[in-house]
Structure formats: structure tokens, C-alpha cells
Symmetry: C2
Subunit: 228 residues, 2 copies
Amino acid sequence: MRIAVLGTGVVGQTLAGKLAELGNEVAVGTRDVDSLMARTDPQPTGAPAFSVWLESHPGVTVATFADAAAHGEVVLLATSGTVAVDALRLAGAGNLNGKIVIDVSNPLDFSSGFPPTLAVCNTESIGEQVQRAFPAAHVVKTLNTVNAQLMTDPAAVGGGDHQLFMSGDDASAKARVAALLSEWFGWRSIIDLGDISTARGPEMYLPLWLRLMNALETPAFNIKIVRG
Amino acid sequence: MRIAVLGTGVVGQTLAGKLAELGNEVAVGTRDVDSLMARTDPQPTGAPAFSVWLESHPGVTVATFADAAAHGEVVLLATSGTVAVDALRLAGAGNLNGKIVIDVSNPLDFSSGFPPTLAVCNTESIGEQVQRAFPAAHVVKTLNTVNAQLMTDPAAVGGGDHQLFMSGDDASAKARVAALLSEWFGWRSIIDLGDISTARGPEMYLPLWLRLMNALETPAFNIKIVRG
């Protein structure tokens, strides 16, 4: 299928690479293609420059946010949460209306160093901001509680026996996203938390995730719900 | 041993009841003993009135915050997070200095209904507020990520194979708390997240916990870390 991945960092690269490998037609969206392709130094996160990464991923194309979103039957929002709504405004409501937008972003604010704080939380979430800004898109928040590698390969830890969460106002969009995440990456267990306001939960889990990454000395972990 | 439990809600009751059952001398601290004992209606949370509960727990005594804290070799802070520092001020620094204070509180703010928001989060936590207000106490944040029943009986789900977290500035206090939680309740796996500022992580997990409780239709669950 035709998929838009908005964002060129490690999350965008990992999602786009895996989705193209599976035979999808993937367009990665960015603010300014020329400026993106001119950069060759590694990103601040340690991810390779997108232009360098793209050389080894010839199945992926790069486009403006608007052209990528127009291309996609489904849109994956993989920018930083702090610029998510801006990126979608550049994509344009006309290219998003009626489509599923899978919001994998987190509102991490690194301006005071590590660990980051959240730019938005408690009474608000990026998922809600996006849904409010684009009421005709079907926003589904998910995947944001694991690192990029695990997003596309849940079996890498515990044989895949751990959980994702999902928030969104549209039940059929959530069912479709659950089916896609199973088909694409092998996710077997996704807990539907409820409407898009429940995205506050998984977004506010990030401060614990960051401290667990530090304590466990690896980002390759996830949580499994244990119940009676 | 002599233990102070500050707070008379369901968490205070459950901790005090179990610790007394184990043979400890437990004093439950409250703001105003006479006013507490005069109330007989169930609490807003559904917990029984403390006076009613106490009738079936003769091994537990009730005292002012100050008298309870003076009694305790260890202090369990089981009030709402929103009044935690106030309760400890009433307990008095002189009754806390040099002691381990196990902070199990959460800053839940129900003033706008359910699910509650957090009264404090992101760049601050109750754990940090308490440690800052009582620099000579050894504050250890833990237990706040599970409900009262699971705090005292982790084996009730998944045979106890799931995790607690712990934050605190004093390594030997954390080691002692881990030993106590194992001895008292059977906790086998407690992840040390680091200094008291890491309490932001487990406190900010509460919004996810609340929505999971809603989705799973039970508070009897916890999370297990799954790693490679």
C-alpha cells in the first residue's frame, strides 16, 4: 500500500525502512527536501543523516510533508511531538481528511538536557492536539511507548509477548491500525485505552520509560500487563 | 518493629492491617484523631470509615501524625500526594530525621472528576517535595504504581512475577526498603531507578495506570519488564 511517514529521524527511518522492505510504497515527508538532502552529518540523536540512510534504502522516496501525505493511504506521524501539529499543517488538511493518522510521536523537550521533560502533559496530549487540529482525520495514538527498533520488531524481546496501547476516537480506525501493526510488524497484543484523550496515559509513561532505559542500560524493553 | 502509617484511606488501612497481622506495632497517623473516629460513613473512595475498619483490626493504634511518626522506626507515607508535605509538617521534622520515609503517595487531583489529573508532575514530584522539605529523612518512593491490595500481596497476580520501582537519594535506605518489602509482602523484583528525582517517572505512570484500570476493568494488575 501507499504509506506516508512524516519525520526523518531514527523513528521515521526505521518505520519507513521496514515498511518499504515489506513491499509498500513509502514516501517520507519533510519540511524542506533540498535542505534535508544537503545534510550528511549524523543527527544529534546519533541516527545517520537521512541522505546517507536513503542511499541504502532505494525503495523509499522523499517528498515535502504535503506531497508525502497526498501519496499516503495511511499517514504515520513520526516527527517529534513538539512539531507534530506544525508538520501536519504543512501536510495540509486536504491531504489528511478521511485518512488514518498513526501518531507515534512523544512531546519530549530536551531544552534542559537529559532526561527530557514533556512539552505537553497532564491535561493535554499530542494525540488530542492533532485530532483537534484535523477533525476529519482519524488519529490513532500508538507505538510511542517503545523504541524504534521494537516498534517494527516486537519479537526482539520476550518473543513479542508484551503490550502496546492505542487511543483514538474512531473504533474502526483503531481496528484497522491493530490489523496493520499485526500484519506489518507482528504486534499481537494492543490494549485499546479508549478515546484520543487517553493518549495522555502512554505519553506520560515516557518519563518512566526514560528512567527505565537508564536503569536497565538498554532501550530494548517493553512492559507486559500481568493480571489476576 | 514499630511502624508509622500516615493516612487513613484504603492504602493506609491495607498497609497497616497487613503490617499488624505480621506482628509489627503499627500506629496510624491522622490530623485529628477525635474527628476521624467520629466519622462512621464510608469514605468517598468506597473504603470503610477508619473507625469502622479499626474495630476489626485491634492490633492497630491510631494517633496524631506527630505521635505516630514518633512511634515509628520506619514511616510509611500513605496520604494523598496532594497533602503529603502538610502531613509530614504536622508529624514534625524531629520525628522524621534519620528515619526511612517510604512514600507511596500519588498526586492525584480529582477536582475535575475522573480520571484525575496530577497536581504535580513533569518538572517536580511528591517524592522530591518531601525529600526537599525534610532533608534529614531518607525518602524512598515506591509502591505507588500498584493498588493497595497488590502492594501487600504481589503474588495475587502472575505469581508475583512483576516489578516495583524505587527512587531515593540514599542507597542504604533503598536497600533496606527492598529488604522490608520482600520480608513483609514478598516483593521479589524492585528496579532502582536512581535518585529521588526519578520519582517523576513512577508518579507520571499513574495516568496510564488509571486508563489501564478502565480498559482492563480491574485494578488488580501490574507491569512486568520484558527485555532482550
